[in-house]
Amino acid sequence: MSNSAAPSYNFAYLDEQTKRMIRRALLKAVAIPGYQVPFASREMPMPYGWGTGGIQVTAAVIGPDDCLKVIDQGSDDTTNAVSIRKFFAKVGDIETTEETERATVIQTRHRIPETELTEDQILVYQVPIPEPLRFLEPKETETRKMHALEEYGLMHVKLYEDISQHGEIATTYAYPVKVDGRYVMDPSPTPKFDNPKMNNMAALQLFGAGREKRIYAIPPYTEVVSLDFDDHPFSIQKWDEPCALCGTRDSFLDEVILDDQGGRMFVCSDSHHCAKRQAEGHRGALSADPALETEEVAP
């Protein structure tokens, strides 16, 4: 790790007063699971939409003893994940890692790691639109009232319209959940594949929306239920084939286009999970080193 932390910036970039403001918001967020706490989001040195909310939450939480992992689309090597990791290494001289197990703070955009998280970890989500009702009702004054009155009929109507039109609920990411039986919450644009991981997770989950100036949280061991209907129960995505690199059938797969003849393959979106499995000897159909036995073959 470099020691080139810019002396002109405070540890983790934010000034102490801003950190206290965010910390107070975080504590209230934990005390009211799934409720969006307004906070005076600061202008950060990266654009809104690049994770300014998650970055502010991480900056308010992280200390010199922490080890930070940053993922985007499940991968540590996505350009914006690289950029955010570099930012914290620069302004806080903070140790970073790609190993999910080693990280104490994990900042993510769009995925929850496949590896089960522990009580010693905090998962920080970057959130673009924190309000699950926003696309049904654009006015904040109205949606705030709906949350206050626990009036979520509009959301059920929307999901039911999906069923009548498509035969199933056509929401595949940012799939709304109900937290601790009270607040309907947007899990951020994670695929619904990840929703079950949020339920009763051992780790603390924190959500930061910088542009929309909201913070929310799910404490550990909290019930998180994906909204559904008795006759149309919630279900997650499935793939017909396993990961082409590590052979797993249990993780979220990205489609990679191989040529312009319709050739494609499916690989784990969680790059660390996939690499770890390969290091353990698991192999898929298109592994770099197929010398070891291929345990599962794509159909």
């Binding site: 405070n10 967020a29 009211i32 699971p33 909290t222």
Partner: protein, 199 residues
Amino acid sequence: MNYSTSPSALGFDNPVFDATATFRTVLEAMSRPATIQSIRHVPDAPSGIGPATAAVLLALADMDTPVWLAPEVASDTLRTYLHFHAGCPVTDAPEAAVFALLGRESDLGVIDKLAIGSAEYPDRSATVIIDCESLSSDPGQNFTGPGIKDTASFDIPGFPPAIWYLVDRNQALFPLGLDWIFTAGSQLAALPRTSKRGS
């Protein structure tokens, strides 16, 4: 009172890192209700309050957070300490308080006057800090709720049992309500408004 006099007690050794560590301890306490946590780097605290109480206030209070002090703890020493190290206003109006500090002898009647938030902004509620003699994780009061895997057991030895009545009544207000931090020495435990006391 003359605030320009220096406080008798020093604050955090390292204001940035110690405040971060203290916040993480409070976050852990609030995320895992009724578990007893230890503050690693406590500040030098003025007489009358414990080091964990001092740490929480220095880590979280500032010019934007009026603090209400129960008469038993509201010494000039403490006011000077908070003014100098946290810069927070000390308010006489409990309803304006973001943090309310009570001691082990304090009249609990003030609890009813603290802000519990509104239906649209339940976060605009006070956090109550009670400086206690000791905290115990021996079987005592049992709690369930978010952050608690099955049940958690916790007690405040020697504290008036009326506190549990107030905790219960506050819990029933959810999503409105106060959040509690109990301190003793360099330890603390928290009960967010979601924690439900069982039999």
